[in-house]
């Protein structure tokens, strides 16, 4: 296991008008970057429900990248401002869940910034690689087990109590 | 207000008058200036040609010492000002270099930290203390004195952020605040010949002469400068110029000397007498 280099899996949500276009531009310009990102296209970064991010971590992503238009540049007037507010709250939540800084990243990348797609993807891949696997599904299983044990203990003590009262 | 002070080798040697007047002016302004403890040579421009990493480490040692105190560092010598800023920038841009240099400093028990601010006294006087405050302190205005303000090269290029690279004005404004007049001339940041005046006199002397001669043509009675090497080149070699080009006979003063005079400080305290070309006539008994 330790001989195989850990290759993180990163899920990216890119808005159609800026960041997805920038990724297309990176392709047309033949810029080379790490193959660890899987892009999911949305029309606007504002479409990204925090649940999508949580779901991606829960299903085994080691990192989640969200790319939208620069502030003030949103194709839909102000969708990206909404993204920003929502994602600030999400960041706090992720921290509470034990997701380290650097696993979730929000970047404004305009349609002209193919090079930024490359640098952001490369940086993030390196960062997440250094953090190691997140394995939230594994953690969920552990937590489930803990909760089950707790439940069992509560039930047992309740049964005990009932016995005494009876 | 409190600052750390990095003198550099020149201000302890040929630029002694710069140190004297610099300290006197800040003392009179009520600003605390404390010399950096056991500082070493910044490496200047010469050491860069010998060993790049070591020259960064030399400057790095000073920066590490400066980082022990939170006060900004004033470096009156242009070369020191440039080298210290260049080092901070170079280490910031190049992680590999930074690793080497901080590692070496560690070996000497020193801790390099970012965030030290190295500033020139011109910047401090205009932006921290302010021209209004200077004007208030002027007791003997330099009225009638026509100066050519000569900045030299390394103070605005390439790192200074407090003034324009092609047409700096900070020192002009300071001199005007002291009541002097500054001539309009295009050689404010032209090179004085630097170390070449000593090593290749034909090249160096010509550059220095061009500057002095142009200042004279524009009607300046004296040159004013913030750089110890410029002062040395322009002042000490005028005798040698005489044989080759002509004798400019132009006193070359530090801006701190002139501010000191305007504030009513004693000429001896300001090292006015240390100039090779006497300034008495230009200063007309001030």
């Amino acid at each position: 296991m330790s001989t195989v280099k850990f290759e993180p899996k990163i899920v990216a949500f890119f808005c159609n008008w800026c960041t997805y276009t920038a990724a297309d531009l990176a392709g047309v310009s033949r810029l080379k970057y790490a193959p660890n990102v899987r892009v999911i296209r949305v029309m606007c970064s504002g479409r990204v429900d925090p649940q999508f991010v949580v779901e991606a971590f829960a299903k085994g992503a080691d990192g989640v990248l969200l790319g939208g238009c620069h502030p003030g540049d949103c194709h839909y007037a102000e969708g990206n401002y909404k993204t920003l507010r929502r994602m600030k709250m999400l960041e706090r939540m992720l921290k509470a869940m034990g997701v380290e800084d650097g696993r979730f990243r929000l970047e404004w990348i305009s349609g002209a910034e193919g090079d930024k797609v490359r640098s952001v993807v490369n940086e993030m891949t390196e960062k997440v690689r250094s953090l190691g696997p997140l394995d939230l599904p594994g953690k969920f299983r552990e937590w489930d087990k803990e909760i089950e044990e707790l439940e069992a203990r509560v039930k047992a003590s309740e049964a005990e109590e009932e016995k005494i009262h009876a | 207000m409190r600052y750390q002070y990095f003198p550099g080798c020149s201000l302890k040697g040929s630029g002694r008058a710069y140190e004297e007047s610099f300290l006197a002016v800040f003392r009179a302004l009520g600003v605390e200036v404390r010399e950096l403890e056991d500082w070493n040579c910044c490496g200047a421009t010469a050491y860069m040609s010998v060993d790049e990493t070591k020259s960064y480490a030399l400057a790095g040692r000073n920066l590490a010492i400066a980082a022990r105190d939170r006060a900004d560092v004033m470096a009156p010598c242009s070369a020191c000002y440039l080298v210290l800023n260049k080092t901070m920038r170079g280490l910031g841009e190049n992680p590999e270099l930074k690793r080497k240099v901080t590692g070496a400093l560690k070996a000497g028990g020193l801790d390099y930290r970012e965030g030290v601010k190295v500033r020139h006294p011109l910047d401090v006087l205009v932006n921290d203390i302010g021209l209004d405050e200077i004007r208030k302190r002027v007791k003997k205005p330099l009225s009638g004195l026509k100066l050519a303000s000569y900045y030299g090269c390394q103070i605005v290029r390439p790192f200074a952020t407090f003034d324009d690279q092609d047409d700096p004005v900070t020192m002009d404004r300071l001199m005007q605040a002291c009541g002097a007049e500054c001539v309009d001339w295009p050689l404010k940041t032209h090179c004085c010949g630097g170390s070449l005046t000593g090593t290749l006199p034909d090249a160096g002397l010509r550059l220095a002469y061009i500057i002095l001669n142009e200042a004279k043509k524009r009607g300046a009675a004296a040159l004013v400068t913030p750089c110890p090497l410029c002062q040395f080149n322009l002042d000490a070699y005028q005798g040698q110029m005489a044989g080759k080009f002509g004798r400019p006979n132009m006193p070359v003063l530090y801006f701190t000397q002139l501010i000191g005079l305007a504030m009513g400080l004693d000429a001896d305290e300001l090292g006015i007498g240390r100039g090779i070309i006497p300034a008495q006539a230009a200063l007309a008994g001030r």
């Binding site: 047309v28 080379k32 606007c44 479409r47 779901e55 299903k59 992503a61 540049d73 194709h75 | 295009p186």
Partner: protein
């Protein structure tokens, strides 16, 4: 209804197609391995690979498979959906399948072109295939909305680009509103004396077009006006235009200019913007004799009446048309149009920023635009080359690339400066007989008859020094330099540094985006490239289109260009608008959002979020409702809805969750 066989386990039957794109994809990705992998995915009834999926036979393959295998969903793994999504939707429709049951996987721009390792690129292609197959199952049959296109057009900017676009559209019988922020149309071209390389007089070719605009029954010309707000969508824009007061009734003024003679200021004494400050004007003025519309205006900054309310108003009293109206106020007007052509032009680099050239410090230093006015027969010196101090220059130096090809200011080549510098060199030499030096870095003369023009100048004895000038200074090293401007430059072809004394320096300033380009592009909801010029939809295949349908760009607002290219682009933008108008309607993407009423809790979270006011609240039902025509499909409401009752077509929660699970599943 096609039969379902047991292979798909009751799932819709998916056809999977992967494209080689010649070697573009197949060179980096093991296409056969992905095809085999996809064939085993749940729901996939057929998986194929093909050399060029976008070719006719490739499309035909999809269409015929739909019938042959009873396919209900299509996944095409090829290039960016921004390029070929429409192609494959049409192919599906041809085979009888609803076009929105198609999903594309981008393995070219996002994989084969950006990765080098074959194994990991193939792995990525498999992950993306799995996700697309998982998501496409949820695709519903959708219909495109058709909305009619308003045939009226707005053209913004009255330079040569806007003029040409407006005339083309008007000649095709469309009603055009031309909005210009200055008091006259004509733009930069109206400032020029001659045009390169033909040296025909700019006014002679421009002013007839300006008059044609004014006279055209299909053009409404609004000068001294600016677009304030744009609402709506392709085919149906509502535009608010701010109309600044001229203090003169435009319908009454006939441009006799008697008021200018009568003004209480006997001599013109105010900054004349049109003449680049080289001339003076009065508070009541007209930019130049052929200004269009030929209507005077009053400058509130300098007019005594407007500033103090105390003036004899001689201007008004000599006007026999009673055109003066000092009480005029700024007003806004609303217009409806279906398409918009932006032709807002450029500005020139501010020469003061390059302090080493002494513009503003030495009176002998000029910008190229100033010299255009100096050599112009109708300019402030009637075409004589006279310096600010009245002298005639004996030697003139022209510095190319000021504010161009310089990372400290603008990185780009401004494309026109080499040619206009040659033109100015010719005109200066012709008008004054002076020695003229051109200081250039590289000579760029790539247009029709441009190289020939350069050759002509070489023959005329104009000096060419290849080198960027370091400094313009008045410091002299020899008697012949005294009183001159000295240019320090390396003659790079000789390898020798030179000092050249001249009397006049001309700075060939580069072209920049307009100062308000960022505001303007936001107003029209289009993009800018990193240098600040408006961004075209595709640099080669859609050079006048933008990412906002119905908004087209022409001329130097998109990037530096000369007059022939600008006119060609203006014609292209007009043609794009005409194509839209003549189609009569547009089909909108059906990726709008809708509320499932039963699940809506009436919390109103979504209502204020919509930037288009498409979400309203039905007070009677206590439910949110979305107007499908106003909705532009961003999906912000769907993301915010706490009860999950808003769904965005093609980007529903089910579709996106399946995709997430798809890319991560092993």
């Amino acid at each position: 209804m096609p039969k379902k066989d047991h292979k798909t386990n009751g799932l819709p039957r998916v056809g999977f197609y992967i494209c080689h794109c010649g070697s573009n994809i197949a060179g980096t990705i093991d296409v056969a391995a992905v095809r085999e992998y996809a064939a085993g995915l749940p729901g996939v009834a057929v998986a194929r690979d093909y050399k060029y999926m976008c070719s006719d036979p490739g499309q035909e393959l999809i269409a015929s498979d739909i019938e042959k295998y009873g396919l209900e969903r299509i996944v095409v793994s090829a290039c960016s959906p921004n390029l070929h999504e429409e192609t494959f939707r049409k192919a599906a429709a041809k085979g009888g399948l609803n076009p929105f049951r198609v999903q594309m996987v981008n393995i070219r721009e996002h994989a084969s072109w950006v990765h080098t390792d074959r194994a990991s690129a193939t792995e990525k292609a498999k992950d993306l295939a799995r996700a697309a197959v998982a998501r496409v199952v949820h695709h519903r049959a959708l219909e495109r909305k058709r909305v009619p296109v308003d045939p009226n057009v707005l053209v913004v900017g009255g330079g040569i680009a806007g003029i040409h676009a407006a005339l083309t559209l008007a000649n095709a019988g469309k009603k055009v509103t031309l909005v210009e922020k200055e008091a006259t149309i004509g733009g930069h071209m109206a400032l020029f004396d001659k045009t390169f390389p033909t040296l025909d007089c700019a006014a002679c070719i421009l002013t007839p077009k300006m008059s044609a605009v004014k006279a055209h029954p299909n053009i409404r010309l609004w000068t001294w006006s600016e677009v304030e707000k744009v609402e709506g969508y392709v085919g149906n824009y509502k535009v608010t235009v701010k109309r600044k007061p001229r203090y003169v009734n435009e319908d009454l003024c006939v441009g006799c200019m008697e008021c200018i003679d009568a003004c209480v200021y006997k001599e013109p004494k105010f900054h004349d913007k049109f003449n680049q400050g080289l001339g003076k004007r009065k508070p009541v003025y007209i930019d130049f004799p052929q200004a269009t519309p030929k209507v005077v205006l009053v400058d509130p900054e300098t007019c005594l009446q407007l500033k103090t309310g105390k003036c004899q108003k001689k201007c008004a009293s000599v006007c026999d048309r009673n055109a003066f109206d000092f009480g005029q106020k700024e007003r806004s007007e609303e217009i409806q149009v279906g398409s918009i052509v932006l032709a807002t032009g450029f500005r020139t680099y501010d020469a003061k920023k390059d302090k080493q050239y002494g513009y503003g410090r030495y009176p002998g230093v000029y910008t190229a635009l100033e010299v255009e006015r100096l050599v112009n027969a109708s300019g402030p010196t009637s075409g004589e080359i006279k310096l600010r101090d009245g002298r005639e220059p004996k030697a003139v130096g022209i510095i190319h690339c000021v504010g161009s090809r310089d990372e400290k200011s603008n990185k780009w080549c401004s494309r026109v400066c080499c040619m206009y510098s040659l033109k100015l060199a010719h005109l200066i030499k012709e008008h004054s007989g002076a020695e003229v030096y051109n200081f250039y870095i590289d000579m760029r003369a790539p247009g029709k008859a441009y190289e020939e023009f350069y050759d002509k100048l070489l023959g005329e004895g104009v000096h060419f020094v290849r080198g960027r000038v370091a400094e313009v200074t008045d410091w002299a090293v020899s008697p012949e330099e005294e009183g001159k401007l000295v240019m320090r430059v390396e003659d790079t072809l000789a390898g020798i540094v030179r000092r050249i004394p001249v009397d006049m320096v001309v700075l060939s300033t580069g072209l920049e985006p307009q100062a308000d380009a960022q505001e303007v592009r936001r107003r029209f909801n289009i993009g800018c490239g990193s240098e600040g010029f408006f961004q075209e939809r595709h640099p080669k295949l859609a050079p006048v289109n933008t990412f906002t349908d119905g908004v087209y760009i022409a001329g130097a607002c998109q990037g530096p260009r000369d007059i022939p290219d600008t006119v060609a682009q203006a014609g292209a933008a007009a043609a794009e608008a005409l194509a839209l108008i003549d189609a009569g309607h547009v089909e909108l993407e059906p990726n709008t959002s809708a509320v499932a009423e039963a699940e809506c809790s009436g919390c109103k979270t979504c209502v204020p979020l919509c930037p288009y006011g498409a979400v309203s609240f039905d007070e009677a039902k206590r439910k949110a409702a979305i107007n499908e025509v106003l909705c532009k499909g961003c999906g912000v409401c769907a993301a915010a809805c706490p009860s999950g009752s808003i769904t965005q077509n093609l980007f529903g929660d089910d579709e996106i969750f399946s995709e997430i699970e798809g890319v991560l599943a092993k």
